[in-house]
């Protein structure tokens, strides 16, 4: 039975240090200063139940969050304010995804349907109620009402758990507890193809870079690759010990797949070879490798990644440029993997060395259920379950600048954050959603 005292619920043991690896108690195997130096710049409040998914828009100006309270919210990163609340689902939302053009968001919900919402690009704050939408809306102008439902995709027979847009934005793939993956034609709003994918709930789907492959993973411990034009299975990658797999993501080159499973392990699969090339295990910060599975002896003081119950998605994150102030190509920067953990922290692994690179703790009071990575800037967002309804947005100002030069280190959009950013771990921008001024039309049954 694991010793729970090592995992402090309120994070008091490491509240003031955003960067855990600076803890001198860790062994010399960890670098003295981690290259990743994220600290929170604002906190967003508004959801009334746990947040299940976060995503930055492709243009990097908006953040979308989905929650078990049946709503999704769109926040502006420039001002930290809430722009839209997407209401209409009759069940909690498990995942949301932005379209590649940045105008639409699809949400996958427990009411067995998905909805495609229109979001004004760039975060315009206008919000009008729409009485009727979809095919019946006469539109003389070409713009859509922000926050309205454009398509309602029905067809799944159980909770829809995950969704993804194809890069050409003409298809949406969704996986559900009914063990199928459905591919939807967005402009018609109909199911293009149903794939009997797994023998357990499908937990994550992802498209590859040119939209010709869909990877799906499931609680049955298999990762399957599907050919989009024909719908046939091209390959199956079985996870060792059939551990239930909860998250799958293609690398930016689409040659590798990152899969995280409920034995607290993440694996990087090579798609062409069909085997694991890197494994990222929970690693005690003291440098000792924890053993897999139950019965782990915890020697107090070290923190360890844990993921055995909840489906938490992992992502790739780029480290900082080696030379400051000069843009560098992606190949010169180290790549990391970030995942939220059930001990209320975020863990970062270096992709190549497989070692733990940083732990970001003290900001959440409950299991970190969602992490999002900004497409261009070193910004992260994370959210947690019911006991902590705050969404935290972090910025990495670079290793040397965290204390002195807060203003220059802040991202372009968050000017307000620069004022308060003096290395404090506390949040400075809090947005309350006092009242919902507009009720968007309910999703048609």
């Amino acid at each position: 039975m694991p010793d729970l005292s090592a995992f402090s619920r309120d994070g008091k043991d490491d509240a003031s240090i955003p960067l855990s690896s600076a803890n001198p108690a860790t062994s010399s195997q960890e670098a003295a200063v981690s290259p990743l130096n994220y600290s929170p710049i604002f906190t967003l409040y508004g959801h009334t139940r746990s947040c299940s998914s976060l995503a930055f828009s492709p243009d990097g100006l908006l953040l979308a969050s989905a929650s078990a309270d049946k709503t999704a919210k769109i926040w502006s990163l420039r001002t930290g304010s809430l722009l839209h609340t997407l209401r209409g689902h009759r069940g909690g939302i498990s995942q949301l995804a932005w379209s590649p053009c940045g105008r639409y968001v699809v949400t996958a919900s427990d009411d067995r349907s998905l909805a495609v919402w229109s979001v004004a690009p760039g975060g315009e704050a206008s919000m009008e109620s729409s009485a009727e939408h979809q095919q019946h809306a006469p539109s003389s102008s070409s713009s859509t009402t922000p926050g309205s439902v454009l398509r309602h995709l029905q067809g799944h027979t159980s909770y829809v758990f995950c969704c993804a847009w194809s890069p050409q934005s003409n298809l949406i793939a969704s996986g559900s507890f009914d063990e199928t993956v459905r591919v939807w034609d967005v402009s018609k709003g109909t199911c293009h193809r149903t794939i009997a994918a797994h023998s357990e709930a499908v937990t994550d789907v992802d498209f590859n870079r040119d939209g010709t492959l869909i990877a799906s993973c499931s609680y049955d411990g298999l990762i399957r690759l599907w050919d989009v034009p024909t719908g046939l299975c091209l390959a199956t990658l079985p996870q060792p010990a059939s551990s239930p797999t909860t998250s799958i993501k293609f690398s930016p080159s689409s040659t590798h797949l990152l899969a995280s499973s409920l034995d607290s392990t993440l694996r990087l699969w090579d798609v062409g070879l069909g085997r694991v090339v890197k494994t990222y295990r929970p690693e005690r910060e003291a440098g000792r490798r924890g053993e897999e599975g139950e019965g782990t002896t915890t020697i107090g003081g070290g923190r360890m990644y844990q993921n055995e119950k909840f489906a938490i998605k992992a992502s790739f994150v780029l480290g900082p440029s080696p030379a400051h102030d000069t843009p560098s190509s992606r190949h010169q920067r180290r790549t990391y993997i970030v995942a939220g953990s059930e001990d209320c922290r975020l863990y970062f692994w270096d992709v190549q060395t497989r070692r733990l690179a940083a732990v970001l703790g003290g900001h959440h009071r409950d299991v970190v259920s969602a992490v999002a990575v900004h497409p261009t800037q070193p910004i992260l967002a994370s959210a947690a379950l019911d006991h902590d309804l705050a969404i935290k947005v972090y910025f990495d100002a670079g290793p040397q600048r965290s204390r002195e030069d807060g203003a220059a280190g802040a991202p372009n959009e968050a000017e307000m954050a620069a004022e308060g950013h003096q290395g404090q771990a506390d949040e400075m921008k809090i947005e309350q959603e006092a009242a919902d001024p507009v009720a968007t039309a309910p999703v048609a049954q």
């Binding site: 298809l171 046939l232 299975c233």
Partner: protein
């Protein structure tokens, strides 16, 4: 990118049957249809030139209409995609050529309109750029249009008080047009009537050569030298080779394969010829074609196909995506056939038979074994062979067997595996595994710029040195002093390195009546 996972032996290289028909909602004839041949999303979109004066773009996967480009006033006769798939150029019987920017929404998609003196029969982009076009008119001229150059015209002030002085001048964007025959006549000093009329033309993938077919059955090879720096005058074209290949019958159309080493030619004597082309390589420094007059371009006929029984004329010829097959649509009146020959041996491999309507044009998908053919009534038929389900993909140990096989146990069948050993071995593999590259895109379809680069790539390198749309102006010696040419560098819209995909626009299409084009 799924190519690496697809079994090359299981998927046939030639399509076998019609599977889908994309019919436009309104019955309108379609004159030309093209897949977008290059870029990351190659072959996912079909552009169709219609007789109702519009260009429709369909998505192959969902069989639905994604864009509808209106702007011409007469039927559109010819289309071409740019290398990134962002620009489309269309030529029409209304004597205009229009360049469309597909990144913009419906209304503002039309970027440039170029007027000519005759209806346009064929238009193509130069490889690697969207600012140079090759246009063939029905008056049998081939014209290279350079959209990068602007002409500045001085406007005289009406009052005579300041006679002799230049009035306020303003910039007019006018294209530089180079008529191939004229330019050749000027440069070689021959009589203008020295060259026979040109009916078809295309650029070599390097952009350094232009091949033109004439009414007398000849293929002319011009060397095209672009001049990226503002200090020299416009581009030069010189005829460097000439070869008669089809007797005296006019050449109707030509198509190049991806490597640029073969051309398939459709001529009026109802036969198709495959021509092998050899060009000297571009100089690696500035990618210019060799300027010595000894540079030889050799043109030789390799195969000749014709249907001796029915003497069918052909419409729409070309190569398959990998260049292994040659296809041609048969222009019968009462049948819809596509013939496929093997390129190496010249043997007829297959005849695809479709609905009983004459065929107007055909195109082969750049990556997949899929053919598109266009009816005279405007419906687009997509031919492919459905793949059989591969059961061994469902688990790594599965293997499909033709018949029952007696299972033989291996020596180590019941050995107990040492798990520690296994784990340690895996650890070692991971430790020794080298750096993994997660960012470089591999396995994508043909690169957008073509193998080896094109001559137009030079302008990106020289660009940093020249002035940016402002100060330098050169007087073109052919024009009078009132007009000056200025070379404007490619604007940002051209230099989109990204691979472009046509994103779905949801609300717009609901307000139109153009519903989806599929009938299945």
């Amino acid at each position: 990118m799924n190519q690496s996972l697809l079994n090359p032996f299981a998927t046939p290289a030639i399509p076998e049957s019609v599977h889908q028909v994309l019919a436009p909602q309104t019955e309108t004839a379609c004159l030309c249809a093209r897949f977008n041949p290059r870029g990351l999303f190659a072959g996912q979109y079909i552009a169709a030139a219609r007789a109702d004066c519009a260009v429709a773009i369909y998505d192959l996967e969902t069989r639905s209409l994604v864009r509808f480009l209106e702007g011409h006033v007469r039927p559109v006769t010819s289309l071409d995609w740019s290398s990134t798939g962002r620009f489309l150029v269309s030529g029409s019987m209304d004597w205009n050529v229009v360049v469309w920017d597909l990144k913009k929404r419906e209304g503002g998609a039309r970027t440039r309109t170029i007027r000519f003196d005759a209806p346009v029969s064929q238009v193509t982009f130069a490889p690697g750029t969207s600012r140079v076009l090759l246009v063939v008119l029905e008056s049998q001229q081939a014209i290279v249009v350079d959209l990068r150059r602007k002409k500045r015209r001085r406007m005289a002030i009406p009052s005579e008080a300041s006679s002799g002085q230049a009035g306020p001048s303003k910039w007019q964007t006018m294209e530089l047009k180079i008529d191939l025959a004229q330019r050749h006549a000027e440069e070689s000093g021959e009589d203008d009537a020295g060259l026979p009329p040109i009916t078809a033309a295309l650029f070599h993938p390097s952009g350094a050569y232009i091949f033109a077919g004439t009414t007398r059955g000849e293929i002319l090879a011009f060397s095209f030298q672009d001049s990226p720096s503002p200090s020299s005058s416009s581009a030069t074209c010189r005829l460097i080779a000439r070869s008669n290949i089809s007797g005296s019958s006019a050449i109707r159309e030509m198509a190049l394969d991806r490597s640029g080493r073969s051309i398939v030619v459709n001529s009026n004597d109802r036969s198709i010829r495959v021509i092998a082309i050899e060009v000297p390589p571009l100089s690696p420094i500035n990618k210019a074609p060799p300027s010595s007059p000894d540079a030889v371009v050799s043109i030789s006929t390799v195969h000749r196909f014709q249907d001796l029984v029915n003497r069918t004329p052909w419409n729409g010829v070309g190569f398959s995506g990998d260049g292994e097959y040659i296809y041609a649509g048969a222009a019968h009146q009462a049948a819809h056939n596509v013939y496929i020959w093997d390129r190496g041996s010249g043997i007829l491999d297959k005849i695809l038979e479709g609905p009983r309507e004459p065929l107007v044009d055909a195109d082969w998908h750049p990556v997949r074994p899929l053919i598109l053919s266009v009816n005279v009534s405007g419906s687009l038929n997509v031919w492919f062979t459905p793949n059989a389900e591969n059961w061994s993909a469902y688990a790594p140990g599965f293997e499909e067997l033709e018949e029952n096989v007696e299972y033989e146990e291996g020596e180590d069948e019941f050995d107990l595996e040492d798990e520690e050993e296994e784990r340690r071995r895996r650890e070692n593999d991971e430790e020794e595994g080298g750096e993994i590259d997660l960012w470089t895109l591999v396995g994508a379809p043909a690169p957008a710029r073509g193998v080896g680069g094109t001559i137009f790539d030079v302008e990106r390198r020289v660009k940093g040195q020249g002035d940016r749309d402002g100060q330098k102006m050169e007087v073109d010696e052919e024009q009078g002093a009132d007009e000056q040419w200025q070379y404007a560098w490619a604007e940002d819209e051209e230099l989109d390195g990204e691979d472009f995909a046509l994103h779905v626009v949801l609300q717009d299409f609901q307000s139109r009546d153009y519903r989806d084009a599929d009938t299945t």
